[in-house]
Subunit: 205 residues, 3 copies
Amino acid sequence: MLGALYILAITVEGMSGALAAGRRNMDPVGVIFIACCTAIGGGSVRDVLIGNYPLVWVARPEFILIVTAAALITIFVSRWMGSLRLLFLTLDGIGLMTFTVIGVQKTLALGHSWFIAALMGVFTGVFGGILRDVLCNRIPLVFKAELYASVAFAAAWLHIGLLQTSLPEWVSIVITLGFGFTLRCLAIRYNWELPRFYYRSDRWH
Amino acid sequence: MLGALYILAITVEGMSGALAAGRRNMDPVGVIFIACCTAIGGGSVRDVLIGNYPLVWVARPEFILIVTAAALITIFVSRWMGSLRLLFLTLDGIGLMTFTVIGVQKTLALGHSWFIAALMGVFTGVFGGILRDVLCNRIPLVFKAELYASVAFAAAWLHIGLLQTSLPEWVSIVITLGFGFTLRCLAIRYNWELPRFYYRSDRWH
Amino acid sequence: MLGALYILAITVEGMSGALAAGRRNMDPVGVIFIACCTAIGGGSVRDVLIGNYPLVWVARPEFILIVTAAALITIFVSRWMGSLRLLFLTLDGIGLMTFTVIGVQKTLALGHSWFIAALMGVFTGVFGGILRDVLCNRIPLVFKAELYASVAFAAAWLHIGLLQTSLPEWVSIVITLGFGFTLRCLAIRYNWELPRFYYRSDRWH
């Protein structure tokens, strides 16, 4: 199940990266590159940080081909994207949760602590978007918009907690995905944001 | 002693990252994330570049909690930061030197050459700030402002040189910290800058 | 031969990085840092992604000194750079192809698949420029300008194909360099670009 969700997740995140590249008028090289960074970058950052080699896409390059296909298709269907916004945000929420659960599972399997596993779950979910935004020369959205990384962090801890119970793993995964997805949808629907920190001063760099 | 200075250093650098995030109106997720990148990013870049696993904060996650606490406290005390500018720059100078000395020590301990050790000392000191500035979508300050990386480089070589003498290690550390800190303070006081390189041409990208 | 071309390549790419730093009015620290990222960053990203330690410049720091020298010389000769544009673009094309061939060879030698080798050839060629542009706070040129990454990708596959024949390796290298260099020169001369993807919508982030 996680495998199928992972394919869905990298497809959706790849499309999100392709649209960001299109907003910067990039050519197909840029579109594909940004799409791959968005879709696969989060897991790569996680694996580089914990020294977990080979990276997923090095061992299984077909994931890159899937994201490339998603990126190229996005170029042609982008005119209809505007009206599909809600569907897209929904799929993105599923993607975020899938990445988070996978990140937690992989990090725990390597023997790391709960805290590091929760952190790596969040990194897997959000670092692709951070790379996308840095490469598109804008401030990462995840630092400003509706609850996103915080939902992933909560879901990661829920999953870690459930894994300590006698529940079968798949039940834990389903509950976590459902919880995180619902929370994310509520955050979008009701525009839940954390309070912003405003600091103005030219006196300190 | 280096351990206590390290705690001080990540606290100060974390606060500097939190203020940079506040200048971009980020939410607490962004503030914490930027603070951690600023405080712990330099050492992480160093360790990834020399393949030194596990990263410090993966082995000892309490450092992340310290920086997180510093970042959150910064949000509440930021209004008084303006008048504490000199204290802050002073602590930042101590932080820079501490990172540099730690970077040199760790790299030498892994059997690398003096030159690489000096380089890694500088990277430990400045790469956190580079990550902060890239994530905040501005040109890294360290490439433009008063002597900073160059002070770290000079201090790194001084420390390496002193380690070759018969002086006890702690004496070498104290001398290096004192030298680098003094030089940095002088650079701030008298606004010492390296000459800038200006290049204007649209004909070559 | 590849060794001599590599020296040429990092020199040219270092100069390109130095000019980009000069356009942002950086001091020598910034100029040297950007130059090194541009010249050596591509190979470093490749080696970090495939976990190939030690990095080239850690094992052989003289490459950093070469790039540093090239960067400092660039500061003094930059006024004549404008009229040398064509020479520069030509040398840059040779550099791109050299990096690509080296990236392919190194990745194949580690036992990776053809596809990953081709990808790593491209990364070696273009990631230095991506780091340069991100650090200079602009959108990477490689995602927008005349054929560049695509030429490297084609050349990488040509080289991989030729290696499967009974031709001596050096012949394969020469053919690949000649093919890629010619293609790149044609792309510059006739301004060959891939079609851009334009996407406008404020409704989807």
